[in-house]
């Protein structure tokens, strides 16, 4: 059994910064990334030479993205690398930065997520030479439409109840200046424009461009650089797992989430019902229901009813996707996971303005990536 490094050497998020998520523009990825990093440095009250190591979470940019970008803050010669883990690339960059700091190798590390949409990029799993009968008919939105069909049939849930996730998340996203979709929507608008099964356009996340950055530091780094401790959010857990083999009929993404959440809660010494705020991988509305259940917030089949009752609203028992989630804030791939950590940090500092979850003390981020992989972080407010 390995060591619980985050318990041995306290590790904190000390700076966050974003470039708004948006439809693809002529803005270069370098500009997107630098905007987020400069904002994170300013937020932490430190300068670029204080950063000792850097990880760039990206799945779409191609080889060698980090240095051409980060050297424009000053070519300090620090170690840097790209991290690709599909939709969980940014989350994995955070995990690497936390590992660097928790291990004692460095005191200050950067995790940056940045991406721009690009067509025609090869997907490694489809290059594996394993054929299937579907002939390309089951793309992600249909995979999740099938899970929605299964969920509704098993639990007596309606399509409108599943869509309730999107109603909530578009409402939250309307309060987030960094969200790609910043418009509150009616249930009628959300149910319009069917894509596949009960999944409509506004129940599917937009994939645009953007950037988000998170600066991770140790106690020594905080003291040495005079960083404000009252805004330092401790990382209690950083867990990553990949898909196992599950019995027929068991949902893969949910089963993987159960295992990863357990690993994270074991590290953190807390449980799901201790959480006040969650950012989960809601690329499709049904996913938020499956994952809040898999993370242990309620029994299978209950999440749809809890969403309907306001349990997961801002101001409810536990705020889920206060940023608007992937559905409204957007899913630019590389930035998504770092953006989740930025949002939960903002919430736990009490700095989320009109989308603040009152009294938020503990929070969790959760991303799933094609493969499948799952990454979960648990964060604690500066109040300790």
């Amino acid at each position: 059994m390995g060591r619980n490094l985050l318990a041995e050497r306290p590790t904190y998020v000390v700076g966050i910064g974003l470039h708004r998520y948006q439809h693809k523009t002529d803005t270069t990825y370098v500009q997107l990334g630098l905007t987020a990093v400069r904002a994170a440095l300013a937020d932490a009250g430190i300068t670029w030479p204080d950063v000792e190591t850097a990880y760039t979470g990206t799945a779409l940019l191609g080889m060698g993205a980090s240095r051409i970008m980060l050297s424009r803050l000053g070519a300090t010669g620090i170690p840097m690398a790209q991290v690709e883990n599909a939709s969980a690339s940014g989350s994995t960059a955070v995990a690497q930065a936390c590992l660097d700091v928790a291990s004692g190798r460095t005191d200050v590390a950067l995790a940056l997520g940045v991406d721009k949409p690009r067509g025609g990029l090869p997907m490694a799993p489809s290059e594996a030479g394993i054929s299937n009968l579907e002939g390309g008919t089951v793309v992600p939105f249909t995979h999740f439409a099938l899970l929605a069909s299964e969920y509704m049939a098993a639990h007596g849930v309606t399509a409108e109840q599943v869509a309730g996730v999107a109603l909530k998340n578009h409402r939250n996203g309307a309060r987030n200046p960094f969200a790609q979709r910043q418009q509150e929507r009616s249930m009628e608008e959300i149910m319009a424009d069917p894509i596949s099964g009960s999944m409509s356009r506004l129940q599917c996340c937009p994939v645009g461009e953007g950037a988000s950055a998170v600066i991770i530091a140790s106690d020594e780094g905080i003291d040495r650089l005079g960083i404000d401790r009252s805004r330092a959010v401790r990382v209690l857990a950083s867990a990553t797992r990949s898909e196992g083999l599950y019995p027929p009929g068991v949902g893969i993404d949910a089963a993987l989430t159960v295992e990863t959440a357990q690993a994270a809660f074991d590290q953190a010494g807390v449980g799901p019902l201790d959480m006040d705020v969650l950012e989960v991988h809601d690329a499709f509305s049904i996913e938020e229901l499956l994952y809040t259940e898999a993370l242990g917030f309620c029994e299978p089949g209950q999440a749809a009813f809890l969403v309907e009752s306001g349990h997961f609203d801002l101001g409810g028992r536990c705020a889920v996707s206060p940023s608007g989630g992937l559905l409204a804030m957007g899913h630019p791939i590389g930035p998504t996971g770092t953006g989740q950590v930025a949002e939960v940090t903002r919430q736990l500092r009490g700095e989320a303005g009109d989308r603040q979850q009152p009294g938020a003390h503990l929070g969790l981020t959760h991303m799933v990536g094609v493969g499948a992989v799952c990454v979960v972080h648990v964060l604690e407010s500066p109040r300790g």
């Binding site: 009968l133 002939g135 008919t137 793309v139 299964e150 894509i195 596949s196 027929p248 009929g249």
Partner: protein, 141 residues
């Protein structure tokens, strides 16, 4: 009568007559006994046995719908939208996804289905290419 081949011959064995149902080609692991689909050229996900321990096994194309969705947006012209896909648990214990054919208005979770072939394309040499679809089996579901 022209020659006929399956669109995915590595996954489907056609019946010898038009009335003979198509069979799905799965895989069985000689080390741990796991049955799986689609056939894998590398090894067993359950026990790690190398591909030389994996043997081809035929799975009857009959089962029950576990989930169903009608697709309205598709990035290829075929199949034409809307079409309906389903997650199907075969009686032989393997779960797969397939496209439905025929009247799907009454199809739901729990409906029994069986594999049939439909015309897909014609090769340059005149060989007729057929693809697997699933249709509901009357009287059950």
């Amino acid at each position: 009568m022209p020659d006929v081949r399956a669109r995915y011959p590595e996954l489907i064995r056609l019946g010898s007559t038009a009335d003979d149902p198509p069979v799905i080609i799965g895989q069985a692991c000689g080390a741990c006994g796991r049955r799986s689909f689609p056939p894998d050229p590398y090894g067993c996900e359950a026990c790690g046995a190398a591909v030389d321990r994996l043997t081809s096994t035929e799975l009857a194309a009959v089962g029950v719908i576990h989930a169903v969705a009608t697709v309205h947006r598709h990035h290829h012209p075929r199949p034409e939208t809307p079409f309906t896909v389903a997650t199907i648990v075969l009686d032989d214990g393997v779960t797969l996804k397939g496209v439905l054919t025929g009247d799907t208005s009454a199809v739901g979770v729990g409906s029994r289905v069986r594999g049939v072939t439909v015309p897909w394309d014609t090769d340059d040499d005149g060989t007729e290419v057929v693809d697997l679809r699933f249709e509901t089996v009357g009287g059950e579901g």
